[in-house]
Symmetry: C2
């Protein structure tokens, strides 16, 4: 068995998405102790911001006529796509940044989505867990309801475009205990954290139990 794990936090030492994803990974490893795990950290080692542009603007140019930058960009896209295609399950740790999709995640998606195999549906039915964290509470009925513009896009592109078999676990209110203005929400945040951690472990067991689609 093989797992691919993506981390997108820009601050690994304080990353709560990493903590949540670790719970998922622990269940995977418990079920598949011999599994290989391929890791990519786009928070600490972000992709060059020119990558997607260089691929798109290379269009249908023959390999022989590419600029060195275009050739390298296409090769990187193939490496990134291979990481997903070669794994039997995917685990993605993705924070919400500034009420939207983390820029590094969007860059990574843009590049992977240039791969012809990915475009042709090669990720369909691939088991995926996304572990997402949000600094505030964006749940229905809260003042920030509707301010999470990351999750709807993640669901759109992973579920509807790529057709993966997606399980999502979110922990809201991760800034409670960090931002003193949120101290009044300590109890609520503790409950949210406990529930999110339990769900992460459940999703980890579910991920480990899934049989990958045969292609």
């Amino acid at each position: 068995m093989s797992l691919f794990r993506l981390d997108a936090s820009i601050n690994p030492a304080r990353s709560q998405s990493r903590v949540l994803a670790d719970l998922v990974e622990a269940e995977w490893t418990s079920e598949h102790p011999d599994s290989s795990i391929t890791r990519r950290d786009i928070g600490t080692d972000p992709l060059p911001s020119t990558l997607w542009r260089d691929i798109v603007n290379s269009g249908a140019t023959d390999e022989a006529d590419l600029t060195p930058a275009q050739r390298e960009a296409r090769a990187t896209a193939t490496v990134l796509a291979d990481e997903l295609l070669d794994a039997e399950a995917l685990l993605l740790a993705i924070p919400l940044y500034n009420w939207g999709v983390a820029a590094h995640v969007k860059s990574w998606y843009d590049v992977v989505n240039t791969d012809a195999r990915v475009k042709a549906g090669a990720l369909k039915d691939k088991p995926v867990v996304i572990a997402s964290v949000l600094g505030s509470n964006y749940a229905p009925g809260t003042p920030k309801e509707g301010w999470d513009h990351s999750t709807p896009w993640l669901r759109r592109v992973f579920e509807e475009v790529w057709g993966v078999d997606l399980l999502l676990v979110q922990r809201q209110f991760t800034l409670v205990g960090v931002n003193p203005a949120l101290d009044q929400f300590r109890d609520a945040a503790a409950e949210i954290q406990a529930a999110a951690e339990q769900l992460a472990s459940e999703h980890g067991r579910a991920l480990a139990g899934k049989r990958p689609a045969v292609r």
Copy 2:
């Protein structure tokens, strides 16, 4: 008078957001022929993907104790914020990419939003036009309704977070005439284009006529 213009297309030669923004700019220039125009192109010259991370992770570190990369990142953020603060009006040409916010735009926003003056509300009531283009048609009632995950985030962060005075013009269906599969929509796309171009000119005249908020 002074205008700041941002372009985010990764392909200037074929950029339709640029065409739309040119119409806005033409009205501005017609009204203010002596206006300076500051331009930043984050599509052709994207910001380094490490910039925001280096700023955030520098936290409250004293200037003297910053790493060279952190010092340069903070200085770049100040330059980017100055460009907005120094202009009396802003014009932003932003395409929809892969159903979401263009990664370069999110990176730029993240960096600008670290500036203390911006955080304190210095952009409140600044007149802004966003000229946005979308390859398909995402209008209500179409099969792709809800797939534009860029505009809701743009409105959120410009209107609600920064509090700017925003006018938005969108041109949908820009891939008609480019993607043969969409040829059946030529008439609809021509109507959409004409309406968008008219609105762009109207927004340009409105932008030129606004008196900047006195601070």
